[in-house]
Each structure stands twice: as C-alpha cells, then as structure tokens.
C-alpha cells in the first residue's frame, strides 16, 4: 500500500492529466490513511519519533557512555521490530593503516556478483533498491565512463569487444562531498574511509551533487529489508539499517576491514579482479600493484585523489 501511494504521488505533471492527477492524489491519500495500519511486518521500518533521538549528538561529540546508550537503543529498537538480536560495532581506524582498493579491468567479467554481495552485507534497502556499486559496460578502446552502458543485460558476460568498469565510492583524499556538507554529517576518517553519520544527515543531497563518481545514494523512501535477510553484524558508521531521508554510500565495509577482513565485494568476486589492503604497508598486495602495474584513477583532472585504483595487466 505504501508503495502504491508513493507511486500515485509521484505521477509527473502533464497538462492533460493534471486534473486527473489531482484527483488520484487525493484518492490515493484517502486510501493511505485507511491502510496505514496494514503495513507488512516483515520489513524494517524506522521506529517512531522520540525526543532522545531528536536530541542525539553528532557521532564525534559522543563520549563512550553516550555511544553505549545510542547503540543499546538501536539494538532494542531493532529487536522490537524484527525479533532479531543484532550487534552494533564501532571499530576505530588503526594507526599506520590507510586503505586502498585496486581493480583489475583485464579480469573483471561484469558478473555483478560484487553488487549483490554488497547489498546483502550492507543491509541496503531492497525496495526501493539501493546499490553502492555500478558496473559500466564499455567498448574496448575508450576510457570515458560517460560513453558506457550501466544497464547492460544479456545471458552471458563478458560480451565480445567489451570490458567492465565497476565504480563505487573512491574514498577520495580530497573529497568534494565532505567539503560541501553544511552540517559535517560526512567526513574522512584517518584510515581514508569517508563515512556518514546517518543520524546527523539532514538530507539536503548537496554531497550527491558534488560527487563526480555518483557514489552516493539517497533514501527517498523508508528502506525496506526483510528481517530474515538482515545482516546482524552492524557498524554504526557503516552497514546498520539507515533511516528514510538520508544519504548513504560505500564505506569499504569498515566493520569488516578494520578487523582485518576483506570487503564483501572482494570476497564475492569470481575472477579475483579486486584487491584491497593497506597503502602504507609497502608489502601489501595493493602497494605492490601500485608499484608494478600501470595504474590509473577516474577523472584525475578533478584532483579528488581517489584511493580506488584501476589497472590492466
């Protein structure tokens, strides 16, 4: 029902359909009011307003007691809604670690298994669908993503004459997105990961306008996620279930990677084209790739200085 109302409300304005649109809007509205109680329970809606939430501090202003209280509240609310116990983690950046990603374009076959794994791992909304990774099908001989196709379909990949360019947040060292945020709801952490405090974001979407890689997604509706599909291991700044009306993005699976694991997209990749590691460690795999391969970044001219590198071999 919620979805139907939303669809009615978003009909485009057309001259002839205008009055009709108005009538359906009012009709849909009346329908919504009556069906408000009948929302399916297996999805995860955000819980209702509370003063405690309203006055919640910015992540950086919280001390450890505040954090405990907030994490406990998130756990309780999730339990009440889904009858599932979750763990809220808050792993901190490690000294001497700066994360980097390297992607081998010669190997990537466009299977998009990374996309699926990411959605699962990070509790993205299934409807409306939110994905952090885009895979662009490109003609061999061009490196301009604007000339590619991100909606490619077909039985088998890779297709002849094509290569595949996965794009996700580049965790820039000079991120245009954090600079423009009017409330400092997004910032770059010491280990190079750009994070968002979902409870502080006001939803102005300026960061989305600023990002040259289209790496940020907005929760236009209440995210919906079947309770049994929810990943219970959650990070406060990473994959916990997001509220409606805020921006989210790839965070290099920081709840995994800060504990020494690999990101979910890397683990899911069937070709081994994804490599992840510490750029400050000269012996890490990513450091070796940067040293020995011909590596490039997207839109270098914008001086965003990504920590996400591409290479062919």
């Amino acid at each position: 029902m919620e979805k139907k109302v939303a669809e009615t409300m978003k009909q485009p304005i057309e001259r002839r359909g205008f009055l009709k649109g108005l009538l359906t809007t009012i009709g849909g509205a009346a329908g919504a009011a009556t069906a408000a109680g009948a929302v399916a329970k297996e999805v995860l809606p955000e819980s209702n307003f509370s003063w405690e939430k309203f006055f919640q501090e910015h992540y950086k202003q919280m001390n450890s007691e505040d954090k405990e209280r907030v994490f406990a509240r998130i756990k309780e609310e999730t339990k009440a809604r889904t009858a599932r116990d979750i763990e809220i983690k808050d792993p901190q950046p490690m000294d001497g670690v700066k994360f980097g990603y390297a992607l081998n374009l010669s190997k990537c076959n466009g299977s998009r298994m990374c996309v699926t794994a990411c959605v699962k791992e990070n509790n993205q909304s299934r409807d409306p669908q939110i994905q952090y990774i885009k895979v662009i099908e490109m003609d061999i001989g061009t490196l301009n993503p604007e000339k590619g196709d991100m909606y490619y379909e077909g039985e088998s990949v890779p297709k002849p004459g094509k290569f595949y360019l996965p794009v996700q947040c580049h965790q820039c060292n000079n991120p245009p997105c954090t600079k423009v945020c009017p409330v400092e709801a997004t910032w770059k952490e010491q280990d190079g990961i750009v994070v968002i405090d979902y409870d502080w974001c006001i939803g102005c979407r300026y960061c989305m306008a600023a990002c040259p890689y289209e790496a940020r997604r907005f929760n236009f509706a209440e995210p919906s996620l079947p309770a049994e599909e929810m990943n219970p291991i959650q990070g406060y700044l990473s994959n916990r279930v997001r509220p409606k009306g805020v921006v989210e993005k790839c965070h290099f699976c920081l709840h995994r990677t800060r504990e020494g694991k690999n990101p979910a997209c890397l683990e899911a990749c069937p070709t081994g084209s994804r490599k992840f590691g510490n750029l400050l460690d000269p012996n890490s795999e990513v450091s070796m790739i940067l040293k020995t391969k011909r590596v490039f970044v997207l839109k270098e001219e914008l001086n965003t200085v990504p920590s996400f590198f591409y290479y062919f071999d």
């Binding site: 978003k10 245009p176 502080w200 929760n219 236009f220 509220p243 914008l302 965003t304």
Partner: protein, 391 residues
C-alpha cells in the same frame, strides 16, 4: 494594525481566500511528503535536486532585485523612488521567506533542521557554501525585516526615524543583496564534477538575470498597487525600472550566448548537458521546448521594452510576464536540471516534477504572495497616513 491587515474590500478577501486555499493544498501535499519521504517527488539519485531548488534559485534573484529600488533611493537620493522602496524591501522579505520554505521542503530530514543552525548544530562554516547560504539568506531576511519594519514603526508612531538606526543597515543590505545571489551561484559553480555549472560567469549571470527579471516583477507589482490601493506609484519609478530592464535583458541574453558559444564551439564531452538542453540527446529532449520558449519570451519582451509598444499597458504587462517567465524557465529548467543530465557517469535520467511537488511549490508561492499582500497592505496604509497610533 491587525484589523488593517485582515480586513478590506471583497476582492481582498477573495484574493486572500484563494491564496490560503492554495497554501492549504500545498500543506496537504507536504504532509504526504513528510510521511512517505521524498519518494513522492520525481527526484532520483541521478537528478537529486529539482523543482524546489529551481524555485529557490529563482526567488533568491527576486529578493536580490530589491536593491534596484534601495540603491536609487539611498545612494542616488531619487525622491520619487522613496515612496516604494519599503514595498521593494518587503517583497525581498517575502521572497526570502519563500526561499527558506523551499529549502525546508527539499530536506530529506526536516526534523533535523536544528543541525544547520549556527552554535546549536554543527554548521560547516566556512567550508560549505550551503552553510554560507544559510548565513547570508537569514542575514538578508533580518535586514529586510529591520529596515522597513523600523521605518514603518516610526511613521506609525508619527516620529522621525533616527537615521543611524537604519541607514547603516541599508548600505549593508546593498552589498548583501549582491552576496545572496553570488553565494547561491557559487553553490553550483563550485562543483568540479558538474561541468555544466562549473563556469565562472555563473554568478554574474545570476545577478544579471535578477536585474533583468526584477524590474519586470516590480513593474507588475506597482501596476497592481496603483489599481488596488490609494498609493500611486509615480510614473518616474516605472520608467526607471523599464530602463533597468532595457539594460539587463540584453546582457542576460549575451551571457547565455557566451555560454552557448563556449560549449558548442569547444564540443568536448562536457557539452552533453547543453546539447541535451537545446536539442536533446540520446533520444531524450524533454527540456528543449522549454529553453527555446524561454529564449523566445526573452526576445519578445526585449522587443516590447525597446519599442514604443511599451507605452501600451497591455503590451507592457505582457512584456513583464514574458521576461519573468523566460527567466524563471532559464534559471529553473534551463540551469538546475541539465546540471544533472547526463550524470557524471553518463546516465540519462529525465525529470519532471510530480503532482505532489507541483502542489507544494504552488503552496509556497501562494504563501509568499499572501505574506506580501498583507505586509504591503499595512505598509501602504501607514505610508499614506491612514494608519496611525491613536493618541
């Protein structure tokens, strides 16, 4: 004073009733957006700003246009403008109020508005241009509340205003008017990832379009005031505004032409947005009719302004409406939307406001018109001496 603000001839009630109806309709539409989220709009991850931000941008220009009356009054000491300068400032006040409403309805989490307040929240000042915008818009709101408010209050009391209590603010507001539109332009032109906006003449273009459309709007407002109130705006004010329009309408077209030249002669991949705007691209051409009609309207209004036709009231009104509409389309559909199409990664997603967005926009416009009607009614009554403190 409340009596004066809320009572009047039957037409006053009909007009206010009509605006209130539209405003309530807008509130009703907004209640849905508040409940379901921005999913009731036709915005997307690709086109993440739309009708709300476009109207916001246009209205910042309307607010900045008040300087066209403030400057002649206080700097050039043009006596005939003095009668209407307060109305101009109140128009700016109403326009900024509408701007703030448009920003509010655009937020995904309006309940978190406290986060953007200085000291209370974490205003990212001076790094974020949006934070600057919050500061300059609210500053301009206060300036345009204080100056006409203080002068009207003193007139109401029958006292002489102390010029030290308003003149400094008048001069500040002249600079401030320029700053609000510059900062709003910088919101867009500062983004390297959006080549269509990333142009140094964006701020000049914004100001010039405000000074081109502003006089047209003021002429219309003054014609209405002449017709429906006892205040008679002198014809010298009107001819001054016509001259301003005659200067800035052509400059506005020239700057648009300069952008068109740069894009199409260069013919780089970044020309895609303008190609899409003017001729369509990859089978999408929704905006092309709008931009061409905008240009046609601007040219048409220019022809009237430059010819003796403008002495005919019907043609003058037509020219003003065309100038306003032309600039509204150019600043909205012609500037904000193509910035998102194609996206930085080459995605083509078109955008047309939803029914809900339309009614929310209409509601805000109606609220602004209502606010201005009531403010102007009281201001005029005080100015012509009908409303005085009883002694």
């Amino acid at each position: 004073m409340f009596n004066c603000a809320l009572t009047g001839p039957p037409l006053f009630y009909i007009w206010n009733g009509f605006l209130t109806f539209l405003f309530v309709l807008g509130l009703y539409a907004y209640s849905f957006q508040f409940q379901h989220g921005l999913v009731v709009t036709n915005l997307s991850d690709q086109v993440s700003w739309g009708a709300y931000i476009a109207n916001f941008t246009f209205l910042v220009g309307v607010a900045a246009a008040a300087v066209l009356l403030v400057f002649p009054t206080y700097v050039l000491h043009r006596e005939e403008v003095k009668d209407v300068v307060l109305l101009g400032e109140l128009l700016a006040f109403s326009a900024i109020t509408m701007c703030l409403l448009f920003i509010t309805v655009d937020l995904g989490r309006p309940d978190r508005f406290t986060h953007i307040l200085p000291f209370l929240g974490r205003l990212n000042f001076p790094r974020s241009v949006l934070a600057w915008d919050v500061v300059v818009l609210n500053g301009y709101l206060l300036l345009n509340l204080h100056v006409p408010g203080y002068l009207l209050y003193k007139t109401y009391k029958g006292e002489k205003p102390n010029k030290w209590l308003y003149l400094p603010f008048v001069f500040i507001s002249i600079f401030w008017a320029v700053s609000i539109h510059t900062v709003t332009a910088f919101l867009y032109s500062g983004l390297g990832g959006r080549p269509y906006w990333n142009t140094a003449i964006l701020a000049p273009r914004f100001l010039v379009s405000a000074f081109a459309g502003g006089p047209a709007l003021l002429i219309l407002v003054f014609l209405l005031i002449n017709k429906f109130s006892k205040l008679q705006v002198s014809s010298a004010v009107q001819s001054m505004l016509e001259k301003i329009a005659m200067v800035f309408l052509p400059i506005n077209m020239f700057l648009l032409g300069a952008e068109v030249y740069k894009e199409f002669y260069t013919d780089s991949v970044h020309t895609e947005s303008m190609k899409y705007l003017f001729f369509g691209s990859h089978g999408h051409a929704m905006l092309a009719p709008y931009i061409w009609s905008s240009i046609a309207m601007s040219v048409f209004s220019m022809i009237i302004f430059f010819s003796p036709l403008k002495k005919n009231k019907v043609f003058l009104i037509l020219a003003c409406i065309m100038a306003i509409l032309g600039i509204w389309i150019e600043k909205g559909m012609g500037l904000i939307i193509p910035g998102f199409i194609p996206t930085p990664m080459g995605d083509m997603v078109e955008y047309i406001p939803s029914v809900t967005e339309f009614f929310i926009c209409l509601g805000i416009w109606a609220f602004g018109a209502l606010l201005f009607t009531v403010l102007a009614k009281v201001a005029i009554a005080i100015q012509i001496g009908e409303l005085r403190e009883k002694t």
